[in-house]
Amino acid sequence: MTDIPRDVLIRAANADIQAFEQVYNAVSGFVYSVALRITNNTADAQEVTQDVFLKIYRNLKNFQFKSSFKTWAYRIAVNTAINKYRVVSKEKKRMVSYDDTIEAGNTIADTSTSFIEREDAEKAVASLLNGLNSDQRACIILREIEGLSYQEISETLKININTVRSRLKRARLALLGQALERGGAP
């Protein structure tokens, strides 16, 4: 996530839509990626992204700069995505799979590897995350994809640092179990 200057955040908090667009441009990639990887559904991820930015816009004036904006935005995004995933799972209204999303051709930021390789990698990531529950999924995304430390994950999800450890441990053992079943790992 790109760092956003404090004055831009202050202007956005004062309903400056151009400043808010700067905030959107800096954060939307992360928010949408997390939403998509947690909900595993394009329409839900778009809805979550929309909800997250409306929440940020509404509450930015109350943001005290005591914690980092990054942690605050991570928390809103992850919680909104998990809530959406839980609601949708209960209602069993899944419409489009994450695999279809990749086929639909979303914009992927990095251009260093070929499209096919990226596509395969994204499919593999989606498939791996699919085997985890939403809490484990959030921890793995924040750790492996976003590169957050245990402390940052703990602050973002508002959970004990040992809970972060145990969720990561269970998630990784589940991923290892999947790989052994497929015969892809020794």
Binding site: D110, R143, K169, R172, P186
Partner: protein, 165 residues
């Protein structure tokens, strides 16, 4: 440290470089000599760490920002509409319900006057009765002082007093 403890640490803190340098080195030394733990570490990295290194940030479609802007505009209009509606209601209430306000004011004024009168009447009664008592006492004293001492003998009271006098 036994292999179970080593595997526990490999699954989280060792892979994520969250251990102290000393402990990290200790596990590396163990891995050099323990094939089973080394195999576990390699399998774990391959299954649960490496695949995510290829993951990229995915940008949302452009229309998402348009929808967000629409959402912001709709919320602002709703808020403005709420204030306008509230102001209209208050204005309407003030213009239509004047007789109610007038009646209310009259009733309040009447109650206030009644309370004030009641208080003043009550205190005046007490003062009047006090003056009445004082007046009677002074009258009785003056009558006593002006009267003839012989006629007052009957007023001396008891037979003992009469004896001494």
């Amino acid at each position: 440290m036994n292999c179970k403890k080593i595997k526990d640490l490999i699954t989280t803190d060792y892979i994520d470089l969250q251990l102290s340098v000393k402990l990290q080195r200790q596990i590396r030394e163990h891995l050099k000599g323990c094939g089973q733990c080394r195999q576990f570490e390699q399998a774990l990295r391959q299954a649960a760490v490496e695949p995510f290194k290829m993951a990229q940030e995915i940008k949302p479609p452009d229309f998402v920002w348009e929808r967000i802007k629409e959402g912001i505009r709709a919320e602002e209009m709703e808020t403005e509409g709420l204030f306008v509606g509230l102001w209209d209601y208050v204005r309407g209430f003030l213009s239509r319900r004047r007789p109610v306000f007038a009646l209310g004011t009259a009733v309040a004024a009447f109650i206030a006057v009644a309370v004030v009168i009641n208080i003043s009447l009550g205190s005046r009664k007490a003062v009047n009765s006090y003056f009445q008592e004082q007046r009677q006492f002074l009258t009785s004293l003056s009558v006593y002082m002006k009267s003839d001492p012989t006629t007052n003998q009957a007023d001396l009271g008891t037979s003992i007093e009469e004896y001494f006098l």
